[in-house]
């Protein structure tokens, strides 16, 4: 029995026990359901082993939505706990675990997955490619992310959640102050999913550099593809820093080194430094694809070409460089001298310039445009003022001397949610709605979508604007409760009300998916939005091979040229197409990575060694495997094209 004691939750509560039961029931229900409908073969052949970028993208998005609900439930619990003074719904330890989980899940497993999912689905279509450069690697990326996410998600029922914040600062995260295995989970879950992200970065750079359709020079790429290219460049340069920092943290916690200890020559603040060297570029990894999505949507629904294409690209390049030069603004109060803080304060302010250029470009795209207020456009239009408020408060926080007042208060929490929610979350929802017909061949219901939009936007304002005020009044972040005398009560209750509205908004989105799946018409055609870029030149839903004939491109709006200017998009005839084979190796290898991480968390060395041998065996197998892919014959393609009505020819 002694062996199993380590898996006990160190600080249990009825809620956690209920979750254990719920998780068990859901797993049983899934297994029973798939068996009952005899879908194991379908699931394995069509989804789990797929190397198709579209299916991998959809799996990323489904996982991201699941994580959104996990993180969202945590958020509602936090708002509920702080809604009234001296609340006892959660105690201090549970509150720590909940806000840590909320942060990690939302950034790493929701936002990152959503961004990468949309990139997976859209980028090869936008550049007229059949798939990504390395389809097998792409599957491994997804499954490693999924293994990491699942590893992190079981922490609260097996062994205990991490509780040192999503920033995981040392010495708090060291063995002295975080005695449970929680931080080990943090290290291994992020390490495993981080490998996947890094490989995605390499994969997409190679794809975008090498696989563009004939005629598509770099300056003729659609804006979302540009943002994806720059994002992946940032991923490749930023993620190794996190990898190394986490390895150092793991060595500290599990092998007795002193990198981040406050004794024996260690520097505890070095973690904070390295974390933010990665962490600030990470912010732009999330927001740049969002900018790309807004650029596509705003141009489409204003019925105009994007204003200032070159300045859009230029400002993204500048942002990507500046994003590496500002990280110290996350710890202005650590104790640097005024000169150091001033340097990083100035670089921080400088980022506002290219961002401002982008905002004006969007406004000028809409200027004199024929604006259609569809659901994606509503999100985009709401994004501009709300994100600007978030940006302006960011500049306030960037003033180093003033930051001593704002640091670690709810003002900061309000600021970054004000950029991330209208920036990233709205963009992902807008992008999902926009590209939904490309994925599934039917539209999401507009009316229900608008209800969800208004609940989310109004809920957002109620939820986060009060935090600016309580933050300035001195309410510290991560404080699990407060006394009535502070006067924070009413505004926090308002915040909880807003969180409730947002929760309703997300439920409406789920209902919309269900409703549209049941009742939405399936004959939406290939171009339901009157769109402009290349991904709309193929069918809805996209056939496996993307384009029957490789498109020939002359501008960033190839499809618009085809529709309005008589541009000949598909000059060739249909020939056989070379496609990658499915493979079970990625999911098996990631399963082994999961066991590896889990064993490492609990110091089960036998499990570590066996799974490591398994991982290397998978790699060796892959090295000697001969896989030349397969061909789809021209007849088969013609048959499929005829089913779609032969359009696009």
């Amino acid at each position: 029995m002694e062996f199993f004691e380590r898996f006990a939750v160190p600080h249990p509560s009825p809620l956690i026990y209920a979750s254990m039961v719920a998780i068990g029931l859901v797993i049983i229900a899934i297994i029973a359901g798939v068996s009952y409908f005899k879908k194991w073969g379908y699931l394995w052949n069509e989804w789990l082993t797929t190397t198709d970028h579209k299916r991998i993208g959809i799996m990323y998005i489904i996982s991201a939505l699941l994580m959104l609900f996990r993180g969202g439930a945590d958020a509602v619990m936090m708002r509920l706990q702080t809604s009234v003074p001296d609340n006892t719904f959660l105690d201090a330890q549970h509150y720590n675990e909940v806000f840590t989980t909320h942060g990690v899940v939302m950034i790493f497993f929701m936002a990152m997955a959503f961004v990468i999912g949309l990139m997976n689905f859209v980028v090869p279509l936008q550049i007229g490619a059949r798939d990504v450069a390395f389809p097998r690697l792409n599957a491994i990326s997804f499954w490693l992310y999924f293994a990491g996410a699942m590893l992190f998600n079981i922490s609260f029922v097996i062994g205990g959640s991490p509780d040192a914040g999503w920033t995981n600062y040392y010495p708090l995260a060291s063995n002295d102050f975080s005695t449970s295995v929680g931080v080990n989970y943090y290290n291994w879950a992020l390490q495993i999913s981080g490998i996947g992200t890094l490989m995605t970065g390499i994969n997409f750079i190679a794809t975008i550099i090498k696989m563009r359709a004939p005629g598509m020079t770099l300056m003729k790429m659609p804006m979302f593809t540009w943002s994806a290219l720059i994002t992946n460049a940032i991923i490749v340069f930023a993620f190794p820093v996190l990898t190394i920092a986490i390895i150092m943290g793991t060595l500290d916690r599990q092998f007795g080194t002193h990198f981040f200890a406050s004794t024996n020559g260690g520097m505890d603040m070095m973690w904070a430094n390295l974390f933010w060297v990665w962490g600030h570029p990470e912010v732009y990894i999330l927001i740049l694809p969002a900018f790309g999505i807004y650029s596509e949507i705003i141009a489409t629904f204003s019925q105009r070409n994007l204003y200032g294409y070159k300045s859009m690209v230029g400002s993204m390049v500048i942002i990507s460089l500046l994003s590496f030069l500002v990280w110290v603004h996350h710890f202005f109060t650590m104790g640097q001298d005024a000169l150091t803080n001033s340097i990083f304060s100035i670089t921080t302010m400088a980022i506002a310039v290219p961002t401002g250029i982008k905002i004006f470009n969007w406004l000028l795209t809409m200027w004199k445009g024929k604006i259609h207020f569809t659901v994606p456009m509503l999100y985009s239009v709401a994004f501009i003022p709300l994100f600007t408020i978030g940006g302006v408060t960011g500049v306030m926080l960037g003033v180093a001397s003033a930051d001593y007042q704002y640091h670690n208060t709810m003002f900061l929490v309000a600021h970054f949610h004000n950029t991330i929610i209208p920036g990233v979350v709205f963009a992902m929802l807008a992008g999902l709605t926009y590209w939904w017909p490309k994925m599934f061949g039917f539209m999401l219901n507009e009316k229900i979508g608008k209800w969800a939009f208004w609940f989310l936007t109004i809920g957002f304002c109620f939820s986060f604007f009060p935090m600016y005020i309580t933050g300035l009044d001195g309410q510290a972040r991560r404080m699990f409760t407060y006394s009535e005398a502070t006067g924070f009560g009413p505004l926090n209750m308002l915040s909880f009300f807003g969180a409730g509205l947002m929760a309703i908004g997300f439920v409406i989105i789920v209902y919309n998916i269900y409703y549209s799946f049941r009742y939405s018409p399936r004959n939406v055609g290939d171009d339901p939005w009157n769109a402009r870029s290349l991904e709309w030149a193929t069918h809805n839903p996209v056939p496996e091979y993307n384009f029957a004939v490789l498109p020939q491109v002359e501008s960033s709006e190839a499809f618009w040229d085809y529709k309005k200017k008589g541009h000949k998009l598909f000059p060739d005839s249909i020939k056989k197409i070379h496609m990658p084979n499915n493979s079970g190796l990625p999911i098996i290898m990631s399963g082994l990575f999961f066991i590896f991480g889990f064993s490492f968390v609990f110091y089960i060395w036998a499990g570590v060694i066996i799974s490591a041998i398994g991982i290397f065996a998978c790699m060796a197998y892959r090295s000697f495997e001969k896989d030349d892919g397969r061909y789809i014959s021209a007849e088969e393609i013609k048959e499929t094209e005829d089913k779609f009505g032969g359009a696009g020819q």
Binding site: A233, F237, M270, N273, V277, V328, Q336, D337, T340
Partner: protein, 94 residues
């Protein structure tokens, strides 16, 4: 025969051996820490350049521009990170 002889690679190989010997001298000769570190850093960076250009053929394909741009970008980011960290954690730390 002359066309077949890889003179560039042989020169590169000799040069990289030379750089290794210079770096090794830090161990055998008694010199100050600063001087030793300087020699090591300089030879290390030249060595990396030799490897990249001569043996990994960085400048020989049509991707030349892309390869050099991303390499330089990577070096610049690494330098910013290292010197920024030194600034925040050591030099500018009160």
């Amino acid at each position: 025969m002359k066309e077949l002889f890889p003179i560039k690679q042989v020169n590169g190989f000799v040069f990289s051996l030379l750089l290794t010997i210079v770096a090794l001298s830090v161990y055998f000769f008694d010199m100050s820490f600063q001087l030793g570190m300087t020699i090591l850093l300089v030879t290390a960076f030249i060595q990396a350049g030799v490897q990249l250009i001569i043996f990994m053929h960085a400048g020989e394909s049509e991707d030349k521009g892309t390869i050099y741009t991303s390499t330089i970008y990577g070096v610049v980011i690494a330098l910013f990170t290292v010197f920024g960290s030194l600034l925040a954690m050591v030099w500018g730390y009160m």
